[in-house]
Amino acid sequence: MTEAQSVESAAASQEPDLLLAEASPEALLDMYEERGWGDGLPLIPPTAERVDEMLAAGGEAAPDAVVATLAPRFGIATRRILAVNAVLAGCRPGTFPVLVTAIRALARPEVNLRGVNATTHPVAPLLIVHGVAVDACGFNAGLGTFGPGNRANAAVGRAVRLVLLHVAGARPGDGDASTQGQPSKYAYCIAENAAATPWDTYPRSLGIDAESAVTIHCGENPHNFHDMENDEAAPILDKAASVMATLGSNNAPVSSAEFFVVLGPEHAATIARKGWSRADVQSYLFERARLPAGMFRESFDVVQYRPWQKALLDDDLMPITDHPDNVRVLVAGGPGKHSCVIPSWGMTKSVTLPLEP
């Protein structure tokens, strides 16, 4: 049997293969707990009817078609398995293509999913939904986009985590060595507020011209910053730079790591009103988010820096990231002068894919 045949054989599962003796939420939760499954929260039973309805929303592709193989368990994520986890999480069928695209993105080699899942770092994949799918599928790009309260954001974010737990094998203490974890390991999904974006949408800024898209960025919980007072771009962004320039994130020893800077609409409007482009924001943060090179050297023996950074003298200010392009800027959220920075796990790169069922 070839490896491809072996994969297909392992993937084939036509019928529901578990018997839940008592059709109650408590019984399902107990069953999952006994087997080391689930995320600790109540689940929707993945019956054949629910899974088939979820699959139908994802188009004509075969249920046993393999979407991805996910590390560290190298579990096979078929469309059916993804649909099972989407049902468990409480996803509406219309959001299924978002989950499928997100899993496809997570499996991209540049994400380094094996490292993301297995590390002692608290990293969680942030899923960002862009474009027509935001409103069409009921995602929240406005007030409270990071939570709580919106079913699509919560359920699809949760489905991603359930897939990582069940299929990728990233269970705490087993395939996931995260020392403390973080709340975003339960669900981490937002939507880009295109209406409030004064520049190109985030996918378009990357050259992706698709009606809808999905971004995956593997990083920490959001680090809030607020500015209630300034009507100029620089003072607002100086606060972002202050949040970025910390020795406590993996961006400090890994200079190629990205930052996602999620601007609230009011901050974005102020910055753009002063004539700043997205590229200006990136360049300014690259210039301002710096610490003395000697501080980095005192704090880290093991680093991944560019040669020019290693050549800096101790008193030279070294940028926390080695290129402005590593500063990824988009707009999400609602009224109120808050924004956030999402540092990276480090040895991972974000991926944006057009939405495909």
Binding site: V7, A10, S13, G75, A77, T120
Partner: protein
Amino acid sequence: MDSLRIYSPAGGIGTPSRSLAPSPEVLAGRRLAILDNGKPNAVLVMQRWADRLAERAGVEFVGVFQKGSAATPCEPELLAEIQARADLVLTGSAD
């Protein structure tokens, strides 16, 4: 209350499982290398092991090989070099 038939969420495992290479019956004369992943103190611990194995079991220590990052797989060219120069490798991961 009625029962329900439901799907399990985990699915199969794709990559065929790999079997461990057989342990050498005799260590004496075997070439031992360390693959250092750069984690703090990892090479210190492994070097002590290598010294003890040389002292007590007669392995020949051939050196430390440094991979690019603890968070990414060993580079294929480095792996090839280690395979050419060593029979046994000490490696691991820790913080």
